[in-house]
C-alpha cells in the first residue's frame, strides 16, 4: 500500500538559484485517478517554479472545487494556499492580490469551476487584468461526479458517461478570454510538458492576467473513442503554433534561427519567450491575427496550442488603480492615518 512517497530523491538532483531542488516544490502524493492529466500539469507547475527559482513562500496557489482544484495539495507544499468555494477562485485571488501585490498568484480551476459555476467570476477577473496565472485543467467532463459532460465538452464529443454525442456547443475558453480582453492567452496539453512548462514560466513573468487553457484528459471518464479530449485525439489533432523556449533575463540567447522562422517576445521583466517554427501568417502580439487563427483552427477541427496572444503593453490591476508599490496589507496605522494635521491640509485644499 503506498499513499506516501518515499523520502529518497535522485542524489544528483540539481539546485536552482535559491538553493532548492525540485523536491522542495513537491506536495503530497496525488489521490487522483492513475494517469490523470491533472497530475502532469501539477508536475509542470513544479518544474516551472523550480526553474524560475521561485521562493515557495512568495507564491499563493488558489483553487475552487473539483478534481482540478484538489491539485494544489499535490504541488508546492511549502507555499500559501486557499481552497475556495466552487467557482469563486477568481474573486478570492483578486482580493488576495489587492491585499498583497508582492506574491505570485497561481489560480487553478477546472472546466466546471470556470465555464459553469464560476463563469461570472472568471470574466471579471479577465477584464480587470488581475496579475495572476490562471490555469484551467480542462477535461470536458465532471470527473468528481462520475463524468457527466461539462460546458467545455465539444459538440459531438462522446464521453464514457454520456455515451451519446454532446448536442451542445462547447464553450471555448480561449476565445472567451480573448473576447474579454485578456492580455496573455495560451492553450496547451497536459501531455506536452516541453510546451506547458515555458508557458507557465512566461505566464508568471507576465504583468496581468495570464490565461492557460490546458487540455487534460480524464482517463477514467473521457479518454474513450469519440472523445475530443482523449490523449490520442489531442495528439492527433494538436497543431502547435510554435515550439517554445523561455529564456530568463540574465541568459543570452545563443540559438540562431532563420528569419521568419522564429520570433522573440520580450516580456515585461526582461525575460524572453522564444517562439520557434512559427506559423508564418500569424503574429501573437496582434489580437486580430490571433483571433482569426484561433477561429480558423476551430473550424478545421484542429486544436491550436501554444502562446496564442500576448499584449506587450499590459497594465495589471494595481497599475490601473495606481495603488502604492507597498503591499496594502503591510501598511500600518501610521501610513494609513497621517493625523489631524494632514487632514487639515486636505480639507483646506477642498475649501
Amino acid at each position: 500500500m503506498t499513499y506516501i512517497k518515499p523520502i529518497f530523491r535522485h542524489p544528483l538532483l540539481p539546485k536552482n538559484k535559491v538553493g532548492f531542488t525540485k523536491k522542495d516544490y513537491e506536495g503530497a502524493i496525488s489521490t487522483l485517478c492513475a494517469g490523470c492529466g491533472h497530475d502532469s500539469i501539477s508536475a509542470a507547475i513544479i518544474q516551472a517554479c523550480f526553474e524560475m527559482s521561485v521562493e515557495p513562500h512568495k507564491l499563493a496557489k488558489i483553487s475552487g472545487i473539483g478534481c482540478s482544484s484538489k491539485t494544489p495539495t499535490y504541488f508546492l507544499g511549502n507555499s500559501h494556499g486557499f481552497n475556495s468555494v466552487h467557482g469563486r477562485m477568481p474573486s478570492v485571488t483578486t482580493g488576495a492580490n489587492m491585499a498583497n501585490r508582492d506574491l505570485i498568484y497561481l489560480g487553478v480551476s477546472g472546466d466546471g469551476d470556470t465555464a459553469s459555476i464560476g463563469m461570472g467570476q472568471f470574466v471579471h477577473a479577465v477584464r480587470r487584468n488581475v496579475n495572476m496565472v490562471y490555469i484551467v485543467m480542462n477535461n470536458g467532463c465532471y470527473g468528481l461526479t462520475k463524468g457527466q459532460d461539462s460546458a467545455t465538452a465539444d459538440f459531438g464529443s462522446i464521453s464514457k458517461a454520456s455515451k451519446t454525442p454532446s448536442p451542445f456547443q462547447g464553450i471555448d475558453l480561449v476565445g472567451l478570454a480573448m473576447e474579454m480582453g485578456a492580455t496573455f492567452v495560451a492553450r496547451s496539453f497536459s501531455g506536452d510538458k516541453s510546451q506547458l512548462v515555458p508557458l507557465i514560466k512566461a505566464g508568471m513573468s507576465h504583468p496581468g492576467f495570464a490565461f492557460i487553457d490546458c487540455i487534460s484528459p480524464c482517463v477514467t471518464f473521457n479518454n474513450n473513442k469519440g472523445s475530443t479530449k482523449s490523449y490520442s485525439y489531442v495528439r492527433a489533432h494538436n497543431e502547435a503554433t510554435s515550439l517554445l523556449d523561455f529564456v530568463p533575463e540574465e541568459k543570452e540567447i545563443t540559438m540562431e534561427y532563420e528569419e521568419g522562422a522564429s520570433k522573440e517576445v520580450v516580456l515585461h521583466d526582461g525575460s524572453v519567450l522564444l517562439l520557434k517554427k512559427l506559423a508564418p501568417e500569424w503574429d501573437p502580439s496582434d489580437r486580430l491575427s490571433a483571433f482569426s487563427k484561433v477561429q480558423e483552427a476551430k473550424a478545421s477541427g484542429e486544436i491550436l496550442t501554444g502562446l496564442l496572444y500576448i499584449d506587450l503593453e499590459s497594465k495589471e490591476l494595481h497599475d490601473l488603480f495606481g495603488t502604492t508599490d507597498t503591499p496594502l496589507n503591510t501598511l500600518r496605522e501610521k501610513e494609513l492615518c497621517p493625523g489631524s494635521e494632514a487632514l487639515e491640509v486636505i480639507n483646506a485644499g477642498r475649501r
Partner: protein
C-alpha cells in the same frame, strides 16, 4: 539505442545488484523478505542452496553484496545483508528435515576431493545427492579448511562451523581426515577415481626475510600458521608486546587473537597508507575498538635482536604517490627510522598456493606463478578428469567465491561423467518473472520504502570478550532489529517491467517517480541519451532500460536503473498497466536440484 531485451537472463539479474555482485548469486532480496516475515528456516534454506554455509558466511563473508547494494546509492549505507543472513541461521530451528537425505542411489562413479574447505564441501553437497561416491581428503582431523584454521573463534564459533560442515559430511561423504595428500599420482590417480577436485586453498603464508630474521627465530610467526596453531591449541600464549605486519583481514585476525592470549600492547604496522589497506573496513573498526593502533606508511627494515632475543623492529617512513594509472609508489620521506619494541612479530603479508604435491607428468599443465591452467567457466584443468576450485584455482579470494567455484566445478564434473561437453552442454540459469499485483495499491511485496538508517549489531562487552578467545564478539541482530533492517531492503528483484503497446504516454510514471528515473524522449545513442534524462545518468555501470518506439509520438521510454527504489509507484500510477512490478528469481546453474 536498441530496445532492451528483457528476455536475456542477465539484464534483470544485473538490476539485483546484491545478487549480481555475490559470486554465488545468492537471491538476497528473496531471503531478506522471508526474514522480515519471520520465516527463518526458509530464508536459511535459500541461502544453503546458494552458498552452503549461511551461518558461517553470516559472520565472516567479505560481503561483496554490500558495496553493490542500491540502498548505498540513495542514502548513506547499504542494507546489512551479511548480518541478516546470520539472523536466518540463528533462528532457523531444525532445518535438517528440508535437506536431501541419504542414502542416495549410487550411480557407480567415484570422485576424490582434495582439501576439506568451502570449495570441496560445496562440490560434495552438490554431487552427493546425485549418487556419486565422494571421498574427501584433508590434513586436519575435521572438515572446514581455512574456515577452521584461519578464522578465529571469536568471529566464528566452532559449533556453527561444525554444524554446517556436518550437514555436508552427513550426506554420506567418505572422509579421509588427518591424511595430507603428498602425491597426486600415487595417492589419488592411482586409485582410479572418475574425477578429482582440488580445493587445497592458498595455504602457504609468506615469510619476510629481513636482517635478523634467523636470530629472531620462534618469536616471528607466519600469520596463517599462527592462527591455525591457536585454533588447534598448539599455541596458548604470546608476548606482551606484539607487532603484526600487514593490512589485510588475516592481519586483523592475528592482532585480535594476540589481544586474547596475552598481548597487551599490540600494534598493526602497514607499509601503505590507511586507505589502501586490504582489510574490510568493519574488520579494521573491530580491531581498533580493541585498542589496537594501526600505524601506516612504515615499511619494516630489520628485526632487532638484543641478548640473542627479538627486541623489536626498525621501520622506515614513506609517503604514497600515485601516477595517472593509479599505480602506487612509496617514497621515503627522509624522516629518521623508527624502532618499535616487540616480544613477538606476526607476519600477515599474503598467502601463496602450494602445489609441489602434484607431479608435473600427469597432463595437468601449470602456468604463470605455478598456477594450474584452467578454463574460466568450467574449472577443468588440462587433464580433463581434474578440476580446481576455491583459492587453489585462481589464487586467494574468499569463502563465497570458493562456494561459487564449487557449484560450477560440480556442474562440470557431473557433465563430464555423463559424457557430455562441459561447456556446450552447460544448462542455462533458471529464471522466473512473477506478477506482484494484488489490487490497486496492493502488492505481494512491501513496497513502502523505510527511511531508517542502517542498524548496528551489538557487541559483547570488551573486557569479557578479550578474556576468552572463544567468546563471540558480535551478538547478531535480535529478531526485532532484523525486521527493521530487513525493511530497509529496496526489493530490487521486483522488476519494473514496461509494455510499450499498453502505454498512452500520460506521463504519470514520470511525474510520480521519486528518484526521477523515467524519461520519454526521442531515441539516441547511449552517451547522448544519458545527457537528456530527467536526472543525470552518470553511473554507466547501471543500464538504461529502453522501450520500443511509441507509435503516437515516436519517442521511447528510457529508465535509468541506477537509483530506482522499486517502490512500484510508476505501476500504481499507470492507468493502463503498461508498467508492472514482477518478481525476478534468478537461480544460478547447478549440477542438480538441491531442494
Amino acid at each position: 539505442m536498441r530496445p532492451t531485451n528483457i528476455q536475456e537472463p542477465e539484464y534483470f539479474h544485473k538490476v539485483v545488484d546484491c545478487q549480481h555482485a555475490c559470486p554465488a548469486h545468492t537471491p538476497v532480496p528473496e531471503y531478506i523478505r522471508l526474514i522480515a516475515a519471520e520465516r527463518y528456516a526458509e530464508a536459511y534454506m535459500i541461502n544453503w542452496e546458494s552458498n552452503v554455509f549461511p551461518g558461517i558466511l553470516g559472520r565472516t563473508c567479505d560481503r561483496p553484496c554490500e558495496p553493490a547494494c542500491r540502498r548505498g546509492r540513495v542514502e548513506e549505507k547499504p542494507v546489512a545483508i551479511c548480518r541478516l543472513k546470520r539472523v536466518a541461521a540463528d533462528n532457523k530451528g531444525d532445518v535438517k528435515q528440508y535437506m536431501p537425505k541419504g542414502p542416495f542411489k549410487p550411480n557407480g562413479k567415484k570422485i576424490a576431493l582434495i582439501g576439506g574447505g568451502p570449495a570441496s564441501l560445496t562440490v560434495a553437497r552438490d554431487l552427493a545427492p546425485l549418487g556419486y561416491e565422494i571421498h574427501l581428503y584433508d590434513e586436519w582431523y575435521k572438515g572446514g579448511g581455512m574456515m577452521r584454521t584461519q578464522i578465529p573463534s571469536f568471529r566464528l564459533p566452532e559449533e556453527v562451523l561444525d554444524e554446517e560442515v556436518g550437514y555436508v559430511i552427513g550426506l554420506g561423504i567418505h572422509t579421509h581426515f588427518k591424511h595430507r595428500v603428498e602425491s597426486m599420482k600415487e595417492e589419488i590417480l592411482a586409485k582410479g577415481y572418475d574425477a578429482v577436485f582440488v580445493g587445497t586453498g592458498a595455504p602457504k603464508g609468506r615469510d619476510l626475510k629481513l636482517p635478523g630474521r634467523e636470530e629472531a627465530g620462534k618469536n616471528v610467526h607466519i600469520g596463517v600458521e599462527f592462527l591455525a596453531n591457536v585454533a588447534f591449541e598448539h599455541i596458548h600464549k604470546i608476548g606482551k608486546k606484539v607487532i603484526v605486519l600487514g593490512g589485510g583481514n588475516t592481519a586483523m585476525d592475528c592482532c585480535r587473537t594476540s589481544r586474547r592470549i596475552g598481548g597487551e600492547d599490540v600494534k598493526v604496522i602497514v607499509r601503505s597508507p590507511f586507505k589502501d589497506m586490504k582489510a574490510s573496513p568493519w574488520e579494521i573498526e573491530d580491531a581498533q575498538a580493541e585498542d589496537i593502533p594501526i600505524l601506516n606508511n612504515m615499511p619494516p627494515k630489520e628485526y632487532v635482536i638484543k641478548d640473542g632475543k627479538l627486541a623489536g623492529m626498525i621501520f622506515g617512513k614513506v609517503r604514497a604517490e600515485y601516477d595517472e594509472n593509479g599505480k602506487r609508489k612509496l617514497i621515503p620521506t627522509g624522516e629518521p627510522d623508527e624502532f618499535v619494541e616487540a616480544d613477538d612479530v606476526i607476519i600477515a603479508i599474503g598467502q601463496d598456493n602450494y602445489f609441489p604435491w602434484i607431479e608435473r607428468d600427469l597432463g595437468i599443465e601449470f602456468g604463470k606463478w605455478d598456477m594450474p591452467v584452467l578454463h574460466k567457466t568450467t574449472y577443468q584443468s588440462t587433464n580433463p578428469k581434474v578440476f580446481f576450485g576455491g583459492d587453489a584455482a585462481f589464487g586467494p579470494a574468499n569463502i563465497i567465491t570458493a562456494a561459487a567455484h564449487g557449484h560450477q566445478a560440480a556442474v562440470s564434473i557431473h557433465l563430464f561423467l555423463q559424457g557430455k561437453d562441459v561447456l556446450a552442454d552447460r544448462p542455462a540459469p533458471k529464471t522466473n518473472l512473477l506478477r506482484q499485483k494484488m489490487g490497486i495499491h496492493e502488492w505481494m511485496y512491501d513496497n513502502d520504502v523505510a527511511p531508517d538508517k542502517r542498524y548496528k549489531v551489538a557487541h559483547t562487552d570488551k573486557r569479557k570478550a578479550l578474556k576468552n578467545r572463544k567468546v563471540e564478539v558480535e551478538l547478531g541482530f535480535t529478531t526485532e532489529e532484523a525486521f527493521k533492517e530487513a525493511e530497509r531492503c529496496l526489493n530490487c528483484d521486483v522488476q519494473t517491467v514496461f509494455n510499450t503497446s499498453r502505454c498512452i504516454e500520460c506521463d504519470a510514471c514520470v511525474d510520480i517517480c521519486p528518484t526521477s528515473c523515467i524519461t520519454f524522449t526521442t531515441n539516441g545513442d547511449e552517451a547522448d541519451l544519458r545527457t537528456r534524462l530527467s536526472a543525470p545518468a552518470l553511473n554507466t555501470s547501471q543500464d538504461l532500460y529502453v522501450s520500443d518506439l511509441l507509435p503516437a509520438t515516436k519517442r521511447v521510454m528510457v529508465k535509468d536503473e541506477d537509483v530506482c527504489l522499486h517502490c512500484g509507484l510508476c505501476a500504481e500510477r499507470c492507468p493502463t498497466a503498461a508498467w508492472d512490478m514482477q518478481k525476478y528469481l534468478y537461480s544460478v546453474t547447478k549440477a542438480g536440484a538441491v531442494l
